[in-house]
Point group: D3
Chain length 290, copies 6
Amino acid sequence: MRFDETYSGKVFIKSHPNYEESKAVLYGMPMDWTVSYRPGSRFGPNKIREVSIGLEEYSPYLDRELEDVKFFDAGDIPLPFGNPEKSLMEIETYVHTLLADGKIPMGMGGEHLVSLPVMKAVASKYDDLAIIHFDAHTDLRENYEGEEYSHSTPIRKIADHIGPKNVYSFGIRSGMKEEFEWAKEQGMHLYKFEVLEPLKQVLPTLEGRPVYITIDMDVLDPAHAPGTGTVDAGGITSRELLASIHAIAASGVNVVGFDLVELAPVYDHSDQTANTASKLIREMILGWIK
Amino acid sequence: MRFDETYSGKVFIKSHPNYEESKAVLYGMPMDWTVSYRPGSRFGPNKIREVSIGLEEYSPYLDRELEDVKFFDAGDIPLPFGNPEKSLMEIETYVHTLLADGKIPMGMGGEHLVSLPVMKAVASKYDDLAIIHFDAHTDLRENYEGEEYSHSTPIRKIADHIGPKNVYSFGIRSGMKEEFEWAKEQGMHLYKFEVLEPLKQVLPTLEGRPVYITIDMDVLDPAHAPGTGTVDAGGITSRELLASIHAIAASGVNVVGFDLVELAPVYDHSDQTANTASKLIREMILGWIK
Amino acid sequence: MRFDETYSGKVFIKSHPNYEESKAVLYGMPMDWTVSYRPGSRFGPNKIREVSIGLEEYSPYLDRELEDVKFFDAGDIPLPFGNPEKSLMEIETYVHTLLADGKIPMGMGGEHLVSLPVMKAVASKYDDLAIIHFDAHTDLRENYEGEEYSHSTPIRKIADHIGPKNVYSFGIRSGMKEEFEWAKEQGMHLYKFEVLEPLKQVLPTLEGRPVYITIDMDVLDPAHAPGTGTVDAGGITSRELLASIHAIAASGVNVVGFDLVELAPVYDHSDQTANTASKLIREMILGWIK
Amino acid sequence: MRFDETYSGKVFIKSHPNYEESKAVLYGMPMDWTVSYRPGSRFGPNKIREVSIGLEEYSPYLDRELEDVKFFDAGDIPLPFGNPEKSLMEIETYVHTLLADGKIPMGMGGEHLVSLPVMKAVASKYDDLAIIHFDAHTDLRENYEGEEYSHSTPIRKIADHIGPKNVYSFGIRSGMKEEFEWAKEQGMHLYKFEVLEPLKQVLPTLEGRPVYITIDMDVLDPAHAPGTGTVDAGGITSRELLASIHAIAASGVNVVGFDLVELAPVYDHSDQTANTASKLIREMILGWIK
Amino acid sequence: MRFDETYSGKVFIKSHPNYEESKAVLYGMPMDWTVSYRPGSRFGPNKIREVSIGLEEYSPYLDRELEDVKFFDAGDIPLPFGNPEKSLMEIETYVHTLLADGKIPMGMGGEHLVSLPVMKAVASKYDDLAIIHFDAHTDLRENYEGEEYSHSTPIRKIADHIGPKNVYSFGIRSGMKEEFEWAKEQGMHLYKFEVLEPLKQVLPTLEGRPVYITIDMDVLDPAHAPGTGTVDAGGITSRELLASIHAIAASGVNVVGFDLVELAPVYDHSDQTANTASKLIREMILGWIK
Amino acid sequence: MRFDETYSGKVFIKSHPNYEESKAVLYGMPMDWTVSYRPGSRFGPNKIREVSIGLEEYSPYLDRELEDVKFFDAGDIPLPFGNPEKSLMEIETYVHTLLADGKIPMGMGGEHLVSLPVMKAVASKYDDLAIIHFDAHTDLRENYEGEEYSHSTPIRKIADHIGPKNVYSFGIRSGMKEEFEWAKEQGMHLYKFEVLEPLKQVLPTLEGRPVYITIDMDVLDPAHAPGTGTVDAGGITSRELLASIHAIAASGVNVVGFDLVELAPVYDHSDQTANTASKLIREMILGWIK
């Protein structure tokens, strides 16, 4: 299950060498070809791996070390440049295999659209799935200038698929009027601007349920995540996002998969955002893979 | 009233094509020739327009869309390079015409000195004018190394003009001792370090009064606005500045004009500060142009 | 024929306001979704326009001024993000219309694949068409990882279309062994490493023929064009490229269209490459539009 | 006592020209040769001096001006490139001389290891010395890959020297498990994540005691200090660090020396972090040199 | 004659501490307020000094060392921000004093307009003065948008002053048609595109004459000098400019003063252009101060 | 013989997976702790590997493909931070082992001092060894501020070791007077400024002899290699350096090892220099490993 590419040798710090023995699998989805604004997130996964060597293996937040968790870094899924449909199919197929093997999928984007096939695959395994979604943007469009599969549509598509009432969005501060109205009408749980406070209220209601979590780096304020495609002022701090990860870790939800998307290294001076993304992934692995 | 330059075609998103039908007019004042430290704010207005295409037209904060407000983007006022006095005169003349036409002036700097002729023109129309001023710096010098018209003097000059008691400064964290003392002696309302809390106390006292608002981007912390001429640690977040704009929108003051100055794109990696400036302008248009 | 978008107002310096009266039409093809390495050329056309305001209108090389040539800047062709096939079709349709109206097409990329539909459209009008191609790369692959329409295939596709003997490539210094062999076997005119010398030998043989010219910015050495997707050491200077443009201008070929592609502003510190691209376009307009 | 180098002419704003009359001495320790990750802090001291010219001389926080404090800027201590042991010895010797002359040492790094010889020298003068340490990292390793003198060991070495109970670390969010355990077992005062709150509790217990304070810039969040060797998300704001400096100034501790380390200009876009470092030093001088 | 400013301590490597004993004087003219395009050259002189510490003191081209030449670095002339006329007057006054003291003036810009008052002062001392001018731009406008003193006019003004036949421009590749025509009509020696070859032909004709030399960094190709206000493709290499300096050194002309202008550090990634400027100054000092 | 580090997985394109079967071995020497100016070359080797994925495997210059040469990428030699002597010893030991195994050593720096232990090891195997050295700097100092092992001394040390007459330096344009004199007196072959022409004269005289070749990236002009520690104007183009590599390939010398040093990625905007370094290594492998 490791992709055999010349350049996939780089791995996340302390990843386990053996797929079979691992409980969770980390993989990159280096696709950015439907973004309308600033491309570049295709280089996100490898950059996260590269800077992970600067991380400590121990989390003083969770009092746990990376070698306590067996996870395998499978490299990047090879995706056909400029062909979104085929790319999405290959991601979905890959995640189906992971799930069939009993692995917890941990994805790194790439643009946010890559989360859609993952969530679909996960939803096919877990009937009662809920989605927790951290983002600056609603991502609730039905289509973008006619294209159905776009970086602006993934949450809408998954909400249509599993029912809007099972989707919980946090930190949203940008979108079309119609998107906010649709969310309201459909009973989707969309929390504007705030993250940690509404999350703490929601988590008890999800106790015991399988939950997939998708984090768009731009939920962070541009001060904390300049290296992303679409920055939007007024976001949360990396401190609040860390606390949100820890709140989920301390709750009774059953994390069955997650991803972190939209790191775009070319806009990221001196790897500030990449280092943050890398630390977030360490905390998610240590907090959510029990 | 649109300036006829080859390059003035770029306009702020959703600006109205017709001057006569518009209630408010957006214009650039691309002057930076009196700054002592880092020039470059001359490119601020066009950069704000350029990145505005990445904005949503809808504000989830105010539940309002840009097409609900008729505003005209007039381009940049042509200013003679290296001639501050003539530049200030041309700005003042221009704003007088806007006011005579019943338009609300919305300016984009340029260095902070460009606000002075605008405020003078506005003060000639509104007897009871109050100034709300967000800034890291006092800008209260009488002169700067002998030059009376400098980026360090605009608030002093307008305070002398309309009376210090009618000037309210927020977020100030840098200046000469004499400037702070002068403000105190003259009864100017200068709030050090803090913005939102004192603003909430001041706004009820200004109810019904005509108010001109000038925002220097450096009131934001360097983390939130690196792309400005003179960064100064210890500032507020973009979240607090957005909340301040919304507090003014919700108050009973009569906003008769405003500007946002000191965006300097060359110091702004990946347009972080420009995107923030652009969003701030959207919120001011949606919140303040009733 | 000008695209009606909010942000298309920005135009190349001294472009003519009227389509009908213009002899040539400048347009952007902001597509970069099939590139395998570094995306970003979608922002090339608008950046070229933006920096064109720094250009003089007069060429001391050609002793001619921009106002001596009537050309219309039509803005960017709207292209569906992430959909290469549809994008190529829309470009081809657009250029057919230009040609039907008797205009000379002058394109700005975007990735090199955008040249393919343009060349096809031009070839359908001119039976005897020859292609002059400046590039670091062969671009002669049949497909790239299975995808037929890729940034690595445009010259192969057009060679297949009009016959390899009608294609003249200069400055080539990178490609697969098979590509060089194919060129040789097929009688394509592929000149390795050198540009000006072989061009001077070729031009007399093309006298009177209709010629389409496509310039990939990476034919320049990385020192002269860092702001492109795929830099490759050992290229020519901007001086040699200017001399090549002037050699074509002085020859007897009939330039029936041209493009300049692969400027990627995000890799271009301080607009060095953009300024060069902008000057090259001025020289092509002044030298080739008689 | 000023180092006689060609380039040491650049001095911190308003430093006093005379060593003998000065109460405190500012000096640079431009060493970065034991860092394992990103070098470059050797250029920190001169960059701080350079940008200090943009500072106001007056602190509105402390209502005091730089000319009220006589401090001498001695330039950078000349250190042998690539020789850590000799470098540390020269620093220690230098600080011994300062202390013998009755001066308060104020150091600028350089990597954090440079603080060790300074603290040792200070400890030899003050029996009852306590260390206040602001940092993202524990710096409590016994050695780093076998090397005892490393950027990861200075706090451990000084704790061993003066007793762990006399060391107070704030804001720590990164380290090996063993380091946190060692701190706990030894009774060191290590406060995780938080700074201002625990500091306010600690300060009264240190009243009257001689205190040396060492600030690693990376205690700040990467949003506030991108220009450092090892960024780590989840840190404090520059506002909180300023408040901490002011809390110490208002307390009854006896500041007998301090330093600020790990500014690395090459990772610092547009001097954001350098400007912050420079302001922090102004506040420390004004608040701590009575 | 050294300007007494806080930050003027930084000096060019191996400058002599004593004004009286020095044969030549180096000074900065940090003015950039009339430039129409990209400001920032005000920081040029100090950046040149800063990076000079990386230079060797010996020139293998000229077999001479800096300590063989007594030159004094006087720091930057204090200039009133935003006031070009007063700035030019102060420069002229300063250079008159230098000449009266028998010193050879060596200036660092700043925008090119700063050369005008220097050349005027020098012309008042030497009847038979010739100007050698290296530049991409003609700088021959009578005025720029009505302003007579602009970065586009200095060569015109000095040509009017000393007679166009005494001005020799090399490397010119940009300007208005009228400027080239004016030069031709007036008998000015304007060499387009080329530098070293025409220079070698001109030098013998100037043997024994007093010559002032002004170098605009943008005579270099953008590949060799990206860090300048107005880059223009098709320029010469740094190698050719070095050879030109050495050709002048080897000729019989009498260099009575010179300057190097238009280094703009903010556009200069990693100090590439600054290092080149610094080396050029070393070579001019070693080659031209006999 | 592959170093077992978490991050050493990244390998040069088309390197062979098996040490035993390989003829040549590529290894990194990530040391930069003795440089006096700008550190950062420790990250050179991994950056070269990373960008190698953008290379074609085929050289149109040499008509050869990478898979025709069996070479093993061993990763980076683990070196103790801040300890030059121990680092040099470990490099020497490592290369002795390579040579004992019959492998051709191909090193990537790191600072230039890393070449010294390699050259020593190679000299112990080949009695008649000659050194070919491409560099901007002499590197002939006996010591640097007292330190014998410094980035300024490696060529002197090896010249002392194998005899100055066996050392051939090309492109030298910077050094102390004493260094140039020493070279002359000792009969070392030092060619100032020029590379290709003197190389073509020297190569026939070395026919059949074992030759070690060391390339400092700064032999290139800063336009062609901005990403290095010490840039120096007036260097050669990447085209000339490629031609020099090909001249050696075509000559009768016996290349028994080589290295390329001083790539410093942090000063290298958009990987321009790294891409060039990577291509140079491909050409050396294809041209020199027969």
